[in-house]
Symmetry: C2
Subunit: 589 residues, 2 copies
């Protein structure tokens, strides 16, 4: 037995007890004849006291300890004369009687403190030290709690967690698969799942009724801050349900998690908005609802005043920023620079200040009279002191996306994006298809198994872009936490979908034949959704990136810098797999 | 809303209610003017009644239903005149008022009944239909419950579930890795984890103190009935522990699972036995403790009687089978054939019958007197009526393994291997190394991170075979449910181990350098274990193979016959990965 108690356990009631603690040396201070060691483990910090007077040898050994040494200390709990009210163990200290060094430590490359991380590269290289910091560990504790609450909630609602395979069949639709060569089937490959989609649908055909799985998923995509090659989904599916049933169930789950893990209660139903309305008002399918500044369209009010920039485009849109009429020239130039950044790509920014005296001052005063601008202000619902910011363009949705960025930036500047406020929104009625200008074809906006709305099936051939799906996303604070759909459970309609998406009957049979076969034996109506566990966790932890709620994340090149993987493998391994590496292919890319 | 109730929910108290059910047609019977449909879902079966007299049209439509059609029925709950006490809903029936066919069904390739599965091949091809059978679904429900109880138990004991990566670094020690080519790092590969071993040790270095994960693991090995290329481990690790702490914690977990999931309580501590003792008494490191028949060694009693077969070998071992002296010649010949099978490989079998009259009858009567055999019987502790079965050989452990098979066979024949009895055993003091005759070198018996016993460290160089490890397995009913060890947490000793296992310093640095680095910053003493979730589930479900507690298992060639994977992938995919397939390599193997 290495310890009788943890470093977070001792209290005033423990005074007089003989205990043994073990942990890491956080800090050593010498004061007069006393040496104080802060001993740390996952559960807390306890102060250890070595007294030179009572045991000079022991104290001498304590003085030789270094930061991050692993030690075991036996002693008596005593009340502290100067208490530390910042930590739960702050009323007591341990008067050491014996000390064992279990492991020494080199000087760590950064100190193990909440606010000292040595920068991203070194943190990732020494991730095992980074994980010792409370801030990082707490994110993973939160993740653990969320997963546990999800499981208990779903179990109580008759969901069964079923593990689906990780070595599956490769299907080219969607993102790029990671593949795994099969030694026993030379020349053939498994794929790693992008999601358990087909298997969960098969489980519905199998009558499992309510399925979930907290499942690792894999996408071989070029990475961004909030993307990892492997990520974790809370994947769910239900039979004999309509959209309303699914939304109700999982709104309940999200409310449960927030209450149990964060103490946040949502008393009202989550608001809902159609995809088209989201795009019109926020320029995003995952709007940040913590603040207003909804879009106002102005094209009709801007015409006929010889302002060629507005006259020459189809679309003029603005937001009203409350109380910012006092913005300086420099601040406004800053905003113009912001929207002109290549990531956003606007040509310029028009502003109108609604001055406190009721007059207007704008960057387009040459073209628009005070009466013109008053009409604009009325449409914005602006008050004296407000600032109106206006963008224009030919492509309405492109311009909306630019305005969305500007809106988020203004929300950020005004402190309206408080991490302790959570604003959920169900986005519904997504389009079934998305047109790709590049490929000149329609793609499934969610995936090919999404059911169209019954009343829109008539447009599948004549006007596919008009068809709405029984698909829904849950957005929160500008982040898509999850989404899903009612699925097609009819082979005929499913075949029609594959056809519209450009699959030949042979491709359909080869890739999805087993699902089509399964449907032939009685498929129930079914639907579901998936939440990103990484995203849900980073939302609750108040993080910007998902990386810090993942124990061992990869960098933007898909590398684990700690163990330097991926790496070369032995020729013998390649031979067994009947594979050759041909790096010339890079040059031909 | 497709249904108001499930098919397992209605009771006598529901009589008179208007309800809507949905599910699969299990069975249709016509009796006079009535049509009875058994409607099935995951929760049960409810009898639906269509009455020709009250609604001929509706009844006509019901008569056209087929097995496995998915239907929705609205009606009134009524008390049944002839009740069925075999099912919980057997007191009531639903008098149908409306019927909607949600999906038709082809005639399934086998009927969806507990005892009708159409054989293994067709079950796997139509796994989604096989999963509709109660017997199969119940295994997966059990698996769900076990996983949930494991998580709740470990959470209550301060374990954190941490997800470790699935795309990791390939390390050649141990079984063969599955590898994943990296597109972003051409010519390099990830491996899929054989276990999260290194990551869980890093989490201990990171101070996580108590970790667990129900994790998918992967081994590219040739498959057997109880092996799958992907399998699931309950993987656990603790800091500041000795072997006793680990055993106590996880004995508690296993007891908890059995109690909560199966209602089985173990009141006593699990028995323990050293590995050497297990081998001596049972010829196995996972003995079936549901019955006795422990081995008895006889060599000294058999000498000097000119029986050359015994005289020419080093080792003679037997078991005493209670009450089987009456075995016929044919039965004894059957046992001889059994031990001579190539999988077992014994040369022959000697028997001694202890007759009811106190005399002995044996296959070696020519060489041994009644007095000789009486001495044998005394050593066996045999009584009149017992049968002694004896094998011999030069290699004691090889002979013991043969005897182990015979012992299990006799246990089976005598009905001593009752699936409702659970006999756990901690096997402790495993050897640290295992000698490979084939490779003429030592291998780590568990893995290279296992700690030797302190008192045996002195033999590491001089007599490695003698060194015992702080390693332990939990066996039950002849199955290894799990195992683990106290780990080395000292870089020097760890380096010594790598050296003894034949790693060059360069190999050690390349493959395990990051772990050695981690140890330099203060590693706590730690240890843990892993249970096979598939094996624990099949033990509790009373299954012979792990396959039926896996939703979508692979066959012995690693194939999923349902979706015919693994499969060929597109040339474009190979090009992106800088890979070429070279099937000629098969021929060179």
């Amino acid at each position: 037995m290495y310890r009788t108690n943890t470093c977070g356990e001792l209290r005033i009631a423990s005074v007089g007890q003989n205990v043994t603690l073990a942990g890491w040396v956080q800090r050593i201070r010498k004061m007069g004849g006393m040496t104080f060691v802060d001993l740390r483990d996952r559960y807390g910090i306890t102060q250890i006291v070595f007294n030179e007077e009572t045991d000079a040898d022991l104290c001498g050994r304590a003085n030789k300890l270094g930061r991050e040494f692993v030690i075991q200390v036996q002693g008596t709990v005593a009340e502290r004369s100067s208490k530390n009210s910042n930590i739960p163990t702050g009323d007591v200290e341990l008067i050491a009687k014996d000390l064992v060094v279990l492991h020494t430590s080199d000087v760590p490359p950064f100190t193990i403190k909440d606010n000292s991380d040595g920068g991203d590269d070194i943190r990732m290289q020494y991730r095992y030290l980074d994980l010792r910091r409370n801030t990082v560990r707490e994110n993973l504790e939160l993740r653990h709690k969320i997963a546990l609450e999800v499981r208990n909630f779903l179990n109580e609602h008759q969901f069964l967690e079923v593990e689906t395979p990780v070595l599956i069949k490769s299907t080219p639709e969607g993102a790029r698969d990671f593949v795994v060569p099969s030694r026993m089937n030379p020349g053939e490959f498994y794929a790693l799942p992008q999601s358990p989609q087909l298997f969960k649908q098969l489980l519905m055909v199998a009558g499992f009724d309510r399925y979930f799985q907290i499942a690792k998923c894999f996408r071989d995509e070029d990475l961004r801050a909030d993307r990892q090659p492997e990520f974790t989904q809370i994947d769910c599916e239900m039979s004999f349900v309509e959209q309303e049933d699914v939304i109700e169930m999982f709104e309940g789950m999200i409310k449960h998690i927030f209450k149990m893990v964060k103490g946040v209660e949502f008393y009202d139903p989550f608001p809902r908005m159609t995809w088209h309305e989201c795009m019109r008002l926020y320029g995003s399918d995952k709007p940040d609802m913590r603040f207003g500044m909804t879009f106002v369209e102005l094209k009709d009010l801007t015409e006929g005043r010889n302002f060629s920039i507005f006259d020459s485009v189809n679309f003029v849109v603005g937001i009203c920023v409350s109380g910012c009429a006092s913005y300086t020239r420099k601040q406004l130039d800053g905003l113009t620079d912001f929207v002109k950044r290549s990531q956003i790509g606007a040509k310029g920014l028009v502003y109108v200040k609604y001055e406190q005296d009721g007059s207007f001052k704008s960057s387009v005063d040459k073209f628009y009279s005070q009466d013109d601008l008053k009409l604009w202000a009325e449409r914005f619902g602006a008050k004296p002191g407000d600032l109106m910011l206006i963008l224009c363009g030919d492509d309405a949705n492109k311009t909306r996306k630019q305005m969305c960025e500007l809106r988020l930036e203004m929300g950020e500047r005004l402190g309206l994006r408080d991490r302790n406020i959570f604003a959920p929104l169900w986005v519904v009625d997504f389009p079934l298809f998305e047109w790709s200008e590049e490929d000149q074809r329609f793609y499934a906006m969610h995936h090919p198994f999404t059911s169209p709305k019954l009343e829109d099936v008539q447009y599948l051939d004549s006007d596919p872009g008009r068809v709405r799906a029984n698909a829904y996303d849950l957005a929160m604070n500008g982040v898509e936490l999850g989404g899903g759909s009612i699925r097609i459970h009819d082979s005929e309609l499913q075949n029609k979908m594959f056809e519209l998406l450009g699959f030949t009957p042979e491709q359909t049979e080869d890739q999805f034949g087993f699902l089509m076969d399964a449907f032939r034996y009685g498929a129930p109506p079914h639907g579901g959704l998936a939440f990103g566990l990484d995203r849900v966790t980073s939302m609750l932890a108040g993080l910007d990136s998902i990386r810090d709620c993942i124990a061992f994340p990869k960098n933007n090149s898909g590398r684990d810098v700690m163990n330097d993987s991926p790496s070369k493998i032995a020729d013998a391994q390649l031979d067994e797999l009947c594979l050759k590496i041909d790096l010339d292919k890079i040059n031909n890319k």
